[in-house]
């Protein structure tokens, strides 16, 4: 309980006395590149292959002659939009971004860089962490939209190249029974997950004490806790919004 209390106090520190807006704008742009742009490659690889595998495995399981083959594309689309793109992408990002944030802040803490900011009279939590949180909340939805597109594209490539489904059936399938609200739901998830991953990882890193071993532990703890929180939040959002 004390850890949860400390986490909420930490969140309060983020919105304490801040610096000039121009400083935050510059930091936000740096973090958007560090968190968002540098994650494009891994998101692209993971999403394309997950889409491809989803298509092949769904087709493998759909052997009934009364179910049209275009249903494969419909299932790939809905799986991608509702779960694979937002949740799996964010779990991948929890690993990449979360460990990066925790180890960066942990190293800054043990090498007294955080102390250096504090003695200058700078709110170190706000200066270091707030731009990371905002960048995650801003870039994760973009990455998830990109991932959703690549999931469906990966399914299309795998399905058509292997002959599991024709191009015409796939395109018909992904247009069939489309619910626009699902896109909104897909964008809400990474917004929440981005906040959770960035704040939990920052919390772990910011309060690191000791040496390299503790930085490693903070990094591992950040990934583990972020993944658990993403899965719990995923369930809660599904219950609340669907």
């Amino acid at each position: 309980m004390s850890v949860i209390g400390k986490y909420f106090i930490f969140l309060g520190m983020l919105f304490g006395k801040g610096e000039k807006l121009s400083v935050y704008w510059r930091r936000l742009m740096e973090e958007c590149v560090g968190i968002g742009v540098s994650s494009v490659f891994i998101v692209a690889i993971v999403s394309t292959f997950i889409g491809a595998v989803s298509c092949i495995q769904t087709a493998y399981n759909l052997v009934s002659p009364i179910i049209p083959i275009s249903t494969v594309a419909l299932i790939v689309r809905d799986m991608s939009i509702l779960e694979l793109a937002p949740t799996i992408t964010c779990i991948v990002l929890a690993g990449k971004v979360g460990s990066n944030i925790a180890s960066e802040l942990g190293t800054m803490r043990i090498t007294e860089q955080v102390d250096a900011l504090e003695v200058m009279g700078i709110n170190s939590a706000s200066y270091l962490v707030l731009p990371k949180v905002l960048a995650a909340m801003l870039t994760f939805p973009m990455l998830v939209i990109f991932a959703g597109f690549l999931n469906i594209f990966g399914g299309y490539m795998a399905g058509t190249l292997t002959g599991v489904i024709t191009e015409r059936d796939y395109l018909n399938g992904i247009r069939d029974s489309f619910v626009p609200y699902n896109i909104f739901f897909m964008c809400v998830k990474p917004f929440v997950f981005g906040f959770l991953i960035a704040t939990i990882s920052s919390f772990k890193g910011y309060f690191t004490q000791g040496g390299a071993l503790e930085v490693g532990k903070a990094s591992t703890g950040a990934v583990t806790n972020s993944c658990i929180s993403v899965l719990v939040a995923d369930y809660l959002l599904a219950q609340l919004l669907l």
């Binding site: 400083v23 800054m108 090498t111 007294e112 860089q113 102390d115 003695v119 200058m120 700078i122």
Partner: protein
């Protein structure tokens, strides 16, 4: 001038500082010496506001740091320059950006003014050629000098140095000591140095405080330290072979 009154601090029931009182004068190089684990760094952290003491107060030219509102604390912080043990340079910034950082964050100076000030400070510590290099590309001694440049860039009234010559070769140590002493005198700064380096004690120590197990056991000027009759201080001082020979 900095006054510390009855500073006490405990961690998990263990008393690390036991009512330390002292005065550090303007334009003087004040040294806090003692063995490892005697509370030197904790005392420094209490003075710069990183660790809040359980008891006592710290006065900066009469302004009580811990009993002031946040605005006064901020203004006192902005009068401080701190050189951390490892330099505490920001890894993602070049040497020049590290030195410019306090100016970017805390002032409204023009780009040209900031550039001039950074160039002056880097020139003052003899590192103008390393301005574009990253902290990972420079030596330990250079990192300390960049740390000094960053500490003085805001024209501080108080300079704190936590073991400025730890991990450095003797020649570089002497250069760092001389640089700190010169800056202290030149800008009439109140400088406080935490060290256990006996060369620093003999070369630049004007006012010296000896801590032992969280207690202040001795305080005085460097010429008197050799004549001390405090057994713990004698043991600390004459663990150095050269000083043992000097005593004889």
């Amino acid at each position: 001038m900095i006054e510390i009154n009855n500073i006490s601090k405990s961690f998990n029931g263990k008393e690390v500082l036991k009512g330390i009182t002292s005065t550090f004068k303007k334009g003087e190089t004040n040294l806090i010496i003692g063995g490892s684990g005697t509370g030197k760094s904790v005392l420094l952290k209490c003075m710069i506001g990183l660790v809040k003491p359980d008891k006592g107060n710290v006065l900066y030219n009469g302004r009580d740091f811990y009993n002031s509102d946040k605005e006064v604390q901020q203004s006192i912080r902005r009068e401080m320059g701190v050189l951390f043990q490892g330099g505490a340079l920001f890894d993602s910034k070049t040497v020049e950006e590290n030195v410019r950082f306090p100016l970017d964050m805390l002032t409204d100076q023009s780009v040209q003014e900031k550039q001039d000030r950074v160039a002056f400070c880097l020139q003052r510590v003899g590192l103008e050629a390393a301005a574009k290099r990253m902290p990972s590309e420079i030596s330990g001694g250079m990192k300390k000098r960049v740390g000094i440049a960053r500490a003085i860039v805001m024209n501080p009234m108080y300079l704190f140095c936590d073991e400025p010559n730890s991990g450095l070769d003797p020649l570089t140590s002497v250069k760092i000591d001389e640089l700190i002493a010169e800056i202290t005198e030149e800008y009439q700064i109140t400088t406080i140095i935490i060290t256990h380096d006996m060369n620093s004690v003999m070369e630049i120590g004007q006012n010296i405080m000896f801590l032992y197990q969280g207690d202040k056991l001795w305080e005085g000027i460097s010429s008197d330290i050799i004549k001390t009759d405090v057994p713990e201080l004698k043991e600390f001082l004459f663990s150095n072979k050269l000083l043992r020979e000097m005593e004889r």
